[in-house]
Symmetry: C2
Subunit: 282 residues, 2 copies
């Protein structure tokens, strides 16, 4: 191996009294960015979510203070405003503050809200994007977000908003009609309703669906089903939230692209698209 | 700095005769993942796109062979099938083959097609997701992909498909109605038509639009405009492709979240959402 991390890459200085809002990616420490690793090596305080794994936190500088600011059991144990003000307070004490969030801070991560609070209090900040669970989880499941002949658009949605409500039915209808592939975050709790809305919007009951739990981690689980069968299959599987849900023909590609399964001995289909195409036409 | 890259992270072995399909991210070498860096350190051959910067290629192992397989001036100088078969051939010669693509291999990157060819020829492969230009570019421009009060869905689209055609008008209509924020790849060439379709689908002429060129690189340029004014502003600006285009209220957030601009002295708006909300209501 020619040289190491430091030999090749000099990141921007992490100044005392500033906050870096950093995406930690979906779970696999190998999906951290070099900026994120640099921040872990430099930070005085790390304010992290429950979704940031111990493996990743163990990469922090020795002596860095760890502050948990996540959710437990799906319920917020910390008020969003309190978290933002904690970041302000720590920065004012001259700390290098790393706000480390699962996935990407700007994709259903409320990073924008925290950044606005920092700005309103005059605290300088930097945003470091991360691999969102939608991107990383699908790649590890062998499901392409876009594929020639399948889709030229992909939509990322949330299954419920900050208040816990499922987004409005009309929006779902247009999205379901406009995007052949839907990637839905936080969808498991309200899956019965979401499934109904997708069917009502004209998505086919035989359309493939995948639930990806613990995306990119060694215990990643993928449940492949159809829109019609998904509710029963989900209950039978005992799969727990949080999971990423993918709806659309792209899921069929997994038969030929499940590289993780192949490394463990799964025989892949040499022509998954063609075969499924014939099935769909039948 | 406590330890280095190798001290903290042991990636999976890069076996001879295998291909890793790796996303290099949007440009900034700091947005490479640890897996991508590990692959650069281990690969015998690197087959790369034009979008992969020299700074990133310079992180390769000394002695690694570099093969260019990209596009020049927007035109494919290499047939997709030839590229895929080159990967097969190199792997069969026992090389560790790194297929390095700008952004993410599964987001408008045709990684699925290459992986299917590898699979059909019995070549083992691994997929390493990268930060797509949509995620990375927006983060560096200070535009959140999702923000409370603005959107619970975001759609990624391509402005033209592999044949160069703009996707069908009906799909655009549903997407434009379903997703408050649209992130459009490869949109500049056909912007006049895309803009028309968005207006025809009911998107407002006063809706904010941003063009982000050379996203995350030191010479990143961001053009802020409105849907109505975008065609004239784009021509006046002389901005060249490729750029990421963002349509939606999220663009307004840049006034308060342009952290790169702030580092260079721009005074940010402490309450960009509220102010724009009032303007929109007027």
């Amino acid at each position: 191996m020619a040289g190491g991390f430091e030999g090749h890459f000099a990141g921007p200085a992490f100044e005392p009294g500033t906050v870096w809002l950093v995406g930690a990616g979906p779970g696999d420490p190998g999906l951290l960015t070099l900026h994120a690793l640099h921040a872990l090596h430099q930070a005085d305080v790390i304010v992290h979510d429950a979704l940031v794994s111990d493996d990743i936190l163990s990469m922090a500088r020795h002596g860095a203070e760890l502050v948990f600011a996540g959710k437990r059991g799906g319920k917020p144990s910390h008020n969003q405003r309190d978290i933002s003000l904690t970041l302000v307070e720590l920065a004012r004490r001259g700390k290098r503050v790393l706000r480390l969030k699962g996935g990407d801070p700007f994709v259903f991560g409320r990073g924008g809200e925290e950044a606005l609070t920092l700005n309103a209090h005059g605290v300088p900040f930097r945003v470091v994007p991360g691999i969102s669970a939608g991107l990383g989880g699908l790649a590890y499941a062998g499901i392409p977000l876009t594929h020639r002949g399948i889709n030229q658009a992909v939509a990322f949605l949330t299954g419920h908003d900050a208040s816990g409500k499922v987004p409005d039915a009309e929006d779902w209808k247009a999205l379901a009609q406009g995007s052949p592939v839907l990637v839905i975050y936080m969808a498991m709790k309200h899956w019965a309703l979401i499934r109904e809305r997708l069917l009502a919007a004209g998505r086919g009951g035989d359309e493939p669906v995948a639930f990806i739990r613990n995306a990119t981690l060694p215990d990643q689980q993928v449940l492949e089903t159809t829109l019609e069968a998904s509710l029963a299959d989900l209950e039978r599987s005992g799969l727990e939230p949080p999971s990423i849900v993918v709806v659309g023909k792209a899921v069929s590609m997994r038969a030929g692209l499940d590289w993780l399964g192949a490394l463990e001995g799964r025989v892949l289909d040499p022509d998954p698209l063609d075969e499924r195409g014939k099935q769909d036409a039948g």
